[in-house]
């Protein structure tokens, strides 16, 4: 998981923005919803309450087409840092959708947390 300290350090050394210009409205979800693997994003959603998940879902859903268009200006195998973070936020929306669209609760019914399943290898490109 990217820590706020790590993002600050990156931004200080490269003058790189945390998110691409035009997506500053989503800064409130960093670092909370930023996970660097499918496994990390699964865990992030599982740790949030339903109100927080719903809030993230609603805000991200209306921005999703704009994010997809922005990301497609680059090759998926070479996303610049700000675009990568923006896209990883959108990938977390897939996790939020599990709670909002399927379970209508933060986690699968009758499932324990923490649980034992690990996604050792997720989809590529873009971890």
């Amino acid at each position: 998981m990217v820590t706020s300290a790590a993002i600050k350090r990156t931004s200080e050394t490269t003058d790189e923005p945390i998110l691409p210009a035009g997506f500053e409205d989503l800064l409130e979800f960093i670092p909370d919803w930023l996970g660097e693997s499918a496994d990390a994003r699964w865990d992030i959603r599982a740790r949030h309450g339903m109100a927080e998940i719903q809030y993230f879902y609603d805000k991200m859903l209306v921005r999703s087409e704009a994010i997809l268009s922005h990301v497609d200006q680059h090759s998926l195998t070479a996303l610049p840092g700000p675009t990568l973070r923006l896209y990883q936020l959108l990938l977390a929306l897939a996790q939020a959708a599990m709670a909002v669209e399927l379970h209508r609760m933060p986690r699968a019914p009758r499932s324990p947390y923490p649980h034992k399943i690990r996604i050792l290898r997720g989809p590529q490109p873009v971890a």
Binding site: A38, L68, A94, E101, A108, H115, L120, G122
Partner: protein
């Protein structure tokens, strides 16, 4: 409503008797008895051919992977040498038994033991012994990495604990192997890997993926409406096939499934992408050769969702309109298992495709969580001894078939007898 099909038009009935199996309750003790587990270890897992994965894990000469085969109590290394030969070895130094290769995977022409520097080629041969002059005439030819019987079938790598297996892999797979000859394993090079160490017998976990009777109950939100509808509310299978100890059941899919209107992320991610159902990852159009294979949806049913194919004893391959995935159930103790599930996906070239894959993985993860979480509860119940027998219905025929053949192997004096 009048033209709604009847369940008897869609689903085969009496498949348990068709498979030549009894229909009575089955004993519970094979799921927890330490004595039975030891018999499984010696007579089943040390005599049967076991799958460790696909050849694509070893993409080029020099590629290697290491694995831990708990039921053999053995660390192994599998290599592809410069002649493209794939071979498994005990990952054990001939000097004093240290593990030679410590990385999970990689590429190397030679391996050097970290203890005293004995060095091996990736074809197992011993290359060099530091200060060899101070040993007492070591025969280097007999001190290579010890090979394990290895064979490849349709890209799947199998190993056998017997130094000289009683039957070849071809004989072992028999009619099942023939039925799947020339299968097109689409997107085999790319996969998502799940793993869990679970407090349940390996058969409890394998059973959890071998019937669809549980789907409306355990997976109401994730895939309930994908596998059942009003005509088939309890998700009875469409058909079944049996080849010796191997087996396949074709499961029912709701042909009318579409993302519900409230599922706005699912609709957005799957816009212009048709994977047939939510369990496969590839677009249907790209899977024509795979879907045309006679072992995929063998009854050519319009109501087909997934073929659950169970290669004896601990390997399942699932075939769906969007591709294939597999499960391996590695016994650790009578009530613990390492389970791995590998799902194959195509390359994503657009942001929407990659998002769809993330949604796919997220849903699969939820389904697996619902499945395997339940296995630990089941194990505790079975182990309580409350019931010495289990009741199995016709749709659970693969579990009955599995128990029958496990028991046959456990009791057989020879592999030929077990396969007879």
């Amino acid at each position: 409503m009048n033209d709604m099909p009847k369940i008897t038009d869609i689903c085969a009935s009496d498949i348990t008797r068709m498979a030549g199996l009894d229909t009575g309750p089955v004993p519970s003790y094979p799921y927890y008895s330490p004595e039975y587990f030891e018999l499984e270890r010696e007579n089943l897992f040390k005599r049967a051919w076991l799958t460790i994965g696909r050849v694509e894990q070893l993409p080029e000469p020099g590629s290697f992977v290491t694995k831990n085969i708990e039921i053999w109590n053995a660390p192994i290394v599998v290599t592809r040498d410069s002649k493209d030969h794939i071979q498994a070895f005990y990952n054990v130094c001939a000097h004093r038994g240290n593990q030679v290769v410590l990385e999970a995977k990689g590429k190397a022409a030679r391996f050097s033991c970290g203890y005293h520097g004995w060095t091996y080629r990736n074809d197992g041969g011993l290359l060099g012994i530091p200060d060899e002059a101070n040993f007492f005439s070591v025969n280097k030819k007999t001190c290579g990495l010890r090979p394990i019987a290895t064979a490849v079938w349709e890209g799947w790598i199998f190993i056998n604990h017997q130094p000289e297996p009683e039957v070849s892999l071809e004989t072992y797979l028999g009619g099942f192997g023939q039925a799947f000859t020339n299968m097109v394993w689409g997107n085999a090079t790319k996969s998502i890997l799940f793993e869990a160490h679970l407090n349940a017998n390996w058969k409890v976990i394998a059973d959890a993926f071998a019937e669809t009777y549980h789907i409306p109950c355990i997976h109401p939100a994730t895939i309930g409406s994908t596998f059942a509808n009003r005509v088939n509310p309890f998700s009875r299978p469409i058909s079944a096939e049996f080849w010796g100890p191997h087996r396949q059941v074709s499961t029912f899919g709701n042909p009318d499934y579409a993302p519900p209107t409230h599922a706005r992320v699912e609709q957005m991610a799957y816009a212009n992408i048709d994977t047939g159902n939510v369990l496969g990852a590839a677009q249907k159009g790209a899977m024509e050769a795979f879907l045309a294979h006679p072992a995929v949806n063998p009854s050519r049913s319009q109501h087909w969702a997934v073929d659950v194919t169970w290669a004896f004893p601990n390997f399942q391959i699932d075939l769906s309109p969007g591709g294939f995935w597999s499960h391996r159930f590695w016994p650790v103790s009578p009530n613990s298992t390492r389970w791995e599930a590998e799902f194959h996906i195509p390359d994503a070239t657009t942001a929407r495709e990659r998002l769809q894959q993330e949604l796919y993985v997220a849903r699969i993860a939820e389904i697996l969580l619902e499945d395997v979480t339940n296995t630990e509860r089941t194990q505790r119940g079975i182990e309580s001894g409350a019931f010495p027998f289990m009741q199995l219905q016709d749709g659970e025929v693969m579990i009955r078939h599995s128990l029958h053949h496990v028991d046959k192997w456990v009791k057989a004096r020879t592999v030929a007898e077990a396969l007879a």
